[in-house]
Symmetry: C2
Subunit: 249 residues, 2 copies
């Protein structure tokens, strides 16, 4: 199996980096081929803007969608974007490794969606959701948080983690991915500064690395998150009146 | 009243720019003072990373929180970040104007949270939520979407808009803001390219500008989105067993 890990953390010795390392080791040991998009190391530019398109389809009004489709169709997308798209086309499994910053992925990873999931290439009006071009491939978010697990539960003050990850899971499904349940690593504090902090960092890391490696070995048996699809919607994109999800006591 | 508009769109003649213009006109006409952070025009860098801190508190391990607190306390935050913080401290109302890209705010605006909402300055362990430093001020997201309104309803395929905006609303509440209901402008297509597209863009714009101006004139009478707070939580940050929200039929 070909795997793409999109790694997003500014510190090379971070907890996130260790989780990416253990994913590489575990998956390579199982015979899979791995590519890593280390967004910070690549100096990826997460900002979608006009200067990425020197020869514009519309030199007057900058519309990201217009330029994405035009440059996708003419094979002139920015090099860094085209490289990410090539990696996505090769991958059967995509792992997004990132820390939860301000209730979402860091800007660096948000911009990977903004720039790489190009209109005309990774989706269009009729090729979205369960008809998306990446259908048949799987994606999984591996997320670290600073606050402890209980605060991300249904009644916790950090907000329910399922709700917080819903936007990113929707985006992955939009281009066709089967989305696996997220790998959640709570209560992660940074390393560095004091010996105590460093020791506690190491202790937690060993436990969470083992849990992550264990899950990766059994990934083939997992069932993706269920989404509704084209067959469930009416012509306006609304769940049909007859769908069981429309009613509950 | 002092108002800060954080404007995030790459095209100066966009629908979003027109909504920001009408907010400036309407609020100035009502006697308020306005500042605008036009993130694209300012070339704001949304990526939190080590190079923003030449003189690091911890030169070994880069932790954003460690550096934010240290540089906040020593008054040596990056100039662009300090300018945004100064604007926030002056503002009684903050309007975030942005298009929904990939089920969330664009990377440019996500990074405004990542970099500007600094640990030690805009929040700390005990100064968060309804004890956040920005308590008493109001914030409001004015959001445009490409897809039509119905698809963002509870049973729509674009996903429920309230759920999609939950992460950003949680972030605003986290630093203390009273969060007003979002201003939602659906079905916005870009201008440019054809005469037909441009004409339809202008028609929709006139209607949505008027609706936005009308709302802004009555903003003082609005009730913020209700959030639970410190008095509702136990010591672990979980809603108390006795809270009415814990139970429903």
């Amino acid at each position: 199996m070909q795997v793409l890990i999109v790694h997003c953390h500014p510190e090379p010795h971070s907890f996130n980096a260790a989780l990416t390392d253990v994913a590489i080791e575990t998956l390579e040991r199982a015979g899979h081929r791995i590519e890593v998009s280390d967004l910070y190391a690549q100096h990826f530019d997460p900002v979608e803007r006009a200067t990425h398109y020197p020869a514009r389809a519309d030199g007057g009004y900058f519309s990201a969608l217009t330029e994405q489709r035009y440059h996708h169709d003419s094979g002139t997308l920015p090099t860094d974007v085209q490289r990410e798209i090539d990696r996505l086309w090769r991958a059967e499994l995509v792992i997004l490794q990132f820390p939860l910053w301000w209730h979402a992925q860091p800007a660096m990873l948000k911009g990977w969606f903004d720039r790489v999931f190009v209109y005309g290439g990774l989706y269009s009006g009729n090729r979205r959701f369960d008809r998306g071009p990446l259908k048949g491939r799987r994606a999984l978010c591996s997320v670290t948080t600073g606050a402890p697990a209980a605060t991300f539960s249904r009644f916790g003050r950090s907000a329910d983690i399922t709700t917080l990850l819903w936007p990113i899971h929707c985006s992955l499904y939009y281009v066709g991915f089967d989305v696996l349940a997220p790998q959640l690593t709570y209560g992660v504090q940074g390393g560095g500064l004091s010996y105590q902090a460093e020791a506690s960092f190491r202790r937690q890391l060993e436990a969470d690395k083992a849990r992550w490696a264990g899950r990766l070995e059994g990934l083939d048996d997992e069932t993706p998150i269920p989404f509704t699809g084209w067959a469930d919607w009416d012509d306006d994109g609304i769940l049909r009146e007859t769908h069981p999800l429309r009613w509950r006591p």
